[in-house]
């Protein structure tokens, strides 16, 4: 197990270095931010002075080396727009995105796992039709469209939820979510819900026919025990990797939803930074998102190992 974790750690570090490279050079190719920062009638001398000041006139390799060594110390440079360290801006926005992503994942699991289990255990039953429907709808409805519909019906007409923004409340110094998170999280979690329903359903269908499930029946166990201890327990191992990937997606893929709901999270910040060609900030967000995804993958691998004794006791 230690060797397994160590090799995953090394792989992760390699991936992150690659990400830094790509992030830096991709943005280099999109053009010069300075031309966007100065007023339209600035003289060439003024533009050149600003390039000098911000360091954009140095050779590319020198700029990259600086970027790379600073990145290693957590310094992603100042946001050109906000005149604040990029990392600080990200960390300020992080709680909102985590709240949104975690709630979305919770919706997906709470709806997806039971529905998939019910569908897979009784193929072609009412619940199975529901499960297949949910899988299809979840994966095909565009979440930005659903978001607008939800706002129109549940917020504007029924007034059950705020139409946009994030409200929180504190208890014992903890910041807790309010119902303002419900609509964006539901819309964001829709795709993941569909994935989880479909996955759990097909896993249950498959595992149901395994020899060890037949053995469990031959022991006279109740259906409930067989489904919980044998079928769901075995399905949960591949489910872990789905959850890991999906949580990464939820943490990084929320630009539409955050924009529609004016949710003050990372997606919103990224959309804004791209619009402003805020080099340093875009680089920082891109790298940070990759970091989160890589970390989640690492965590997933470890959890996978803990859940599956064949990996835990391997090598």
């Amino acid at each position: 197990m230690q060797r397994y974790i160590l090799s995953r750690l090394v792989q992760s570090a390699g991936i992150l270095i690659g990400v830094l490279l790509i992030v830096f050079f991709m943005l280099q190719m999109t053009g010069d931010p300075v031309s966007l920062m100065v007023s339209r009638n600035a003289s060439p001398e003024q533009v050149e002075a600003l390039r000098e000041e911000l360091g954009y006139n140095r050779p590319v390799m020198v700029q990259f080396f600086d970027f790379f060594t600073d990145a290693l110390t957590g310094d992603f440079g100042m946001s050109l727009r906000h005149r604040q360290p990029s990392l600080k801006l990200i960390l300020d926005r992080l709680p909102a995105t985590v709240e949104l992503a975690a709630t979305a994942l919770m919706f997906a699991l709470v709806i997806g796992v039971p529905l998939g289990l019910l569908g897979g255990s009784n193929p072609n039953s009412f619940w199975d039709i529901m499960a297949r429907g949910a899988g299809l709808i979840g994966q095909t409805i565009p979440n930005f469209w659903l978001a607008l519909i939800l706002i129109v019906i549940l917020s504007v007409h029924l007034g059950w939820f705020p139409t946009f923004g994030r409200n929180t409340w504190s208890l014992f110094g903890l910041t807790l979510p309010t119902r303002s998170v419900v609509l964006p999280a539901f819309a964001l979690g829709l795709f993941t819900t569909g994935q989880i329903v479909r996955f759990v359903r097909s896993a249950v269908l498959e595992i149901k026919n395994e020899d060890y499930v037949r053995t469990a029946y031959s022991k006279g166990l109740s259906d409930r025990n067989i489904y919980m201890r044998h079928i769901l327990r075995n399905a949960s191992i591949p489910l872990i990797s789905i959850i890991g990937v999906q949580f990464g997606y939820l943490m990084s893929g929320s630009i539409y939803i955050e924009t529609i709901f004016s949710w003050p999270g990372l997606g919103n910040l990224l959309a804004e930074a791209i619009g402003n060609r805020d080099f340093a900030l875009v680089q920082a967000i891109a790298f940070f998102t990759s970091l989160v995804v890589v970390a989640l993958n690492l965590l997933t691998d470890v959890a996978y190992g803990l859940a599956d004794p064949r990996i835990r006791y391997g090598d």
């Binding site: 053995t215 022991k219 004794p309």
Partner: protein, 325 residues
Amino acid sequence: MPILEVKNLVTRFYTIEGVVHALNGVSFDLEEGEILGIVGESGSGKSVAMMSLLNLLPMPPARIERGKALFYENGGQDSVDLLTLTKAERRRVRGGKIGYIFQDALSALNPVMTVGRQIGESLMEHLGLSGEDAKHRAVELLEHVGIPGAEKRYYNYPHQFSGGMRQRVMIAIAIACDPKIVIADEPTTALDVTVQAQIVELIKRLQEELRLAVIWITHDLGVVAGIADRVLVMYAGYPVEISLVDDLYNNPVHPYTKGLLGALPGIGGKRAGRLESIEGAPPDLLAKPKHCQFVWRCPYAFDRCRNEMPELVEIAPKHYTKCFL
């Protein structure tokens, strides 16, 4: 005294290609404390018959069409039909009254549950033991089936055992709740020869100690000759011959049984060159059998065999066969 009496069991599979006539009237009985060997080629319905008894077949596609399977208790006083049990009653029989040993223990054991818990589960279900007692008893059972260091092995997972040890775990599960009958469905097929012998020995020993009635499904006529009291030969989903073991080996009546025994290599005798084999292939189970299903391969077949299905008749004491000869 019989403990199990199976009458005219018919099971079919409704598949896309058509109806598979897997069992076409299986009848036999099982005496208390005896070992009944069931032999026959792949697809002859040996396992399907046993799984039908405990309703372990996937339904659909399988359906038990007809038949009775009377299970006698209290010295023959009470009997229940296994095929018409309610769900709760069936659960009491499975594992509690009838234990099942499957052939490939690696796939028949849950890979992510410790073997100890897989044994303990049964104990808690049928004997109502607490978690602690179940653990205690499971360790005893592991010792009983000959697993060294049972206390430690309790916490191991199936993949950490060798093939033979896994099959011992499987056996421990089958006998955990003191059943009356154990069905051993090719328990040695996946093992190598030396280990096979140990597993055969073990089941034989447990059968004597616990006074079990054992139904032993196998391809291996040698094993059957060594341990079974009686033998049932299956062909195309029905029994073609049932007899005491010595009787069967000395006086096989059905041409199929003769063919099977003829295909056995002799030990110590002259090297007879090529082994004999039965010509042809097993019949197509998609067609509903209307006459003897061995006619295509039978050297003695005559007109009647192609038009009628023979009855299972007693031709000598305790020796039944389904043949016009």
